[in-house]
């Protein structure tokens, strides 16, 4: 069996499963956020009753992250709905925006978008925060009310996005009926050359199979090339399984995985034991292809979809109005460090915005020093408008006052993961997806730019 089949077989209490089988699986973790949490809670209450109790409070993780730093009334209210539910159900893993468990959240417009407006428990983008908080473990089943839940497949677990109704069902029962997907294998060899990042790997692959090329399927990453990818790299790749239509993306757990997971579970006091699945020799695959990482070049997904691939060096004619770095896939500390390497001592030519994925990315960038300067200050000095308010921000547009939202038909290069029309705001805007290196180099020149010329 493949990794996905092995996990689903175990979670459904069967010796084996085949692609196409419909099985009821036990959920290890249910993740939700401020956009889909209130609706999922609504479904749960409607169906199980106003006084119903969730199936297991310790298995529910609620991370508000989408529409937080906005004056939109309903958005602020939605965070309060989450808080009330967490209190009522005694949920230990609700990472509130504010510290007062009896308070209510209101964004302070006057204080502005740049300075930190959250309390001690607030995290930021749920998929980046979840593993850091010790909620991702190899061999487990994670469902989340967000399509990029697949990011946790980096840790060798089955992780997949679902809707509110399914989430409401899980809240009451802990179970979900799933169809076992067929598995596609992406076998990686070699190492990424200088100037190439994990983002280039996944953009290349999606361009290869098409952005519906993995619909209903599991994307399994294997091979010696995987060893050269750190956990951040694997997260970037697993994150975008959904951009190829995939049900999940999955990496086998190795030493790097176990080290990360044990450190993080211990740190936050979450469950430390888990039971990983190992690779079988004999796997039934619907697709099997070898990719040589050393052959890859900086890659871009052009407007209007993530499968619309070109090389950065082919797009030098594309003029840009804006650059953006942030999101679950592109707002990690390592992404900002890569970006800073390119812009250090230089100055951006177009409006450039940076939104750290999580609150600890903010801290880390401020604490990491290059000579006398912090990485944060390197970015600010280069002209990047950085906000301390970690969140999804303009990655998905959001309410009109969202930080860095494309409120006009601009052309933007972005380290995020999705570029359908209207994704970052205006439906006339054009978004190009690229690695933090490529976004940085392009910010310096004002057109799409191969970053290698700035890295030598």
């Amino acid at each position: 069996m493949t990794l996905t089949e092995k996990i689903l077989a175990r979670a459904s209490g069967r010796p084996r499963v085949e692609p196409g089988d419909n099985v009821w699986v036990e959920t290890d973790i249910l993740l939700t956020h401020d956009v889909c949490g209130p609706g999922s809670i609504g479904v749960f209450k409607r169906e199980f009753g106003q006084d119903a109790k969730v199936w297991d409070p310790a298995k529910i993780v609620i991370i508000p992250d989408h529409y937080i730093f906005t004056s939109d009334r309903l958005s602020n209210r939605n965070v309060d709905i989450l808080r009330d539910f967490a209190k009522e159900q005694g949920l230990p893993y609700f990472y509130d925006v504010i510290d007062d468990p009896n308070g209510s959240w209101k964004f302070n417009t006057e204080a502005g978008q740049i300075k930190r407006q959250y309390g001690a428990r607030y995290q930021g983008v749920c998929h980046a925060a979840l593993p850091k908080l010790g909620h991702a473990r190899p061999g487990e089943v994670l469902f989340g009310t967000d399509s990029h839940t697949c990011m946790a497949g980096a840790f060798g677990e089955f992780a997949s996005g679902i809707g509110n109704t399914d989430a409401g069902f899980i809240l009451g029962t802990g179970k979900l009926l799933v169809k076992v997907p067929e598995t596609m294998r992406f076998y990686l060899e070699g190492e990424m050359p200088p100037g190439v990042m994990a983002k280039d790997v996944i953009l290349w692959v999606i361009g290869d199979i098409g952005f519906d090329g993995a619909t209903y399927r599991a994307m399994q990453w294997e091979g010696p090339g995987v060893n050269s990818l750190d956990m951040d790299d694997r997260m970037t790749i697993a994150n975008m399984a959904i951009e190829a239509g995939g049900k999940n993306g999955i990496f086998p757990a190795d030493k790097a995985t176990h080290t990360y997971v044990s450190e993080r579970t211990n740190l936050n006091g979450t469950k430390t034991d888990y039971n990983p699945v190992e690779l079988d020799k004999d796997q039934k695959l619907i697709f099997d292809k070898v990719y040589d990482l050393s052959k890859l070049e900086p890659t871009v997904a052009m407007h209007p979809n993530p499968g619309n691939r070109a090389l950065a060096k082919e797009l030098e004619k594309v003029k840009l109005d804006r650059a953006y770095i942030g999101s679950c896939t592109g707002g990690k500390a390592s992404d900002f460090v890569a970006f800073a390497k390119v812009v250090r001592g230089r100055h951006v030519k177009i409006d450039t915005y940076g939104v750290p994925a999580t609150s600890d990315v903010v801290q880390e960038l401020k604490a990491t020093r290059w000579d006398t300067q912090s990485v944060w200050d390197v970015l600010v000095d280069a002209g990047v408008t950085m906000t301390e308010n970690a969140s999804c921000a303009a990655c998905l547009g959001g309410p009109p006052d969202t930080f860095a939202r494309l409120n006009a038909p601009l052309t933007c290069i972005s380290a995020t993961n999705r570029n359908f029309p209207g994704r970052m705001g205006s439906k006339e805007a054009k978004v190009y997806l690229a690695s933090p290196y490529t976004v940085a180099a392009s910010a310096l020149t004002g057109h799409v730019t191969d970053p290698r010329e700035f890295l030598s």
Binding site: N22, W24, V35, C36, P38, G39, G42, V43, K45, R46, E47, G49, H66, Y67, D72, L74, S75, N78, I81, T145, D146, S147, T149, G161, I162, G163, N164, T165, D166, G168, F169, G172, T173, L177, F211, D212, T215, Y216, G245, K247, N305, L396, G397, G398, P399, P400, R418, F420, P421, G422, R423, K427, E428
Partner: protein, 182 residues
């Protein structure tokens, strides 16, 4: 649930993603709150670019679309996992989508909520039908008739009883998976 529906159709292209079906700024609306459910419906498909779709899905100022059937190309509903997408269509009065293929989560959410029937076509109907054409969808024969042409659709199969029951909760109750509502 009617076994036959007749309605004007609304035709869209390939890769209509959830941002076009319901733009992210309206996700602040919570579908289980009745007024907000209705509101969601009024924004259905507003993300479609104006120049490609001069005939708008929702007539100015109305909350219900005149189209009960949407005809689409490949990969309908790709992008985010937002259940607001099938819900917005359902709330706007859509009963079925007939697409060449679907993104996985949209299909699943349509079934789980029971909001609409996600039919798959065998032909590329978006090249044959035009917005405003009157079509008849027959659920028992799995066919769509437009003018004098009848197209056989892929049978909706094992998900039909779930949608007919009104979504996974009712279905799970009927099959004894969860206890019936008090």
């Amino acid at each position: 649930m009617a076994k036959v529906i007749t309605s004007p159709v609304y035709v869209v292209g390939d890769n209509i993603d959830t941002d076009q079906i319901i733009p992210a700024q309206y996700l602040t609306l919570v579908p289980t709150i009745p007024e907000e459910y209705k509101k969601l419906g009024s924004y259905a498909m507003v993300g479609l670019p104006d120049e490609l779709y001069p005939t708008r899905f929702m007539a100015e100022g109305s909350t219900e679309a005149e189209y009960k059937i949407v005809i689409a190309g490949k990969n309908f509903g790709c992008g985010s996992s937002r259940e607001h997408a099938p819900i917005a269509l359902g709330a706007a009065g859509v009963e079925a989508v007939v697409a060449e293929s679907y993104a996985r989560i949209f299909f699943r959410n349509s079934v789980a909520t029971g909001e609409l029937y996600p039919y798959e076509s065998r032909e590329r109907l978006i090249d044959i039908c035009r917005t405003g054409d009157i079509a008849t969808l027959d659920f028992d024969t799995d066919t769509l008739t437009v003018g004098n042409q009848t197209f056989s659709l892929k049978p909706i199969g094992d998900v039909r009883p779930v949608i007919e029951a009104g979504g996974i909760f009712n279905y799970a109750r009927q099959s004894g998976m969860i206890p019936s509502k008090a």
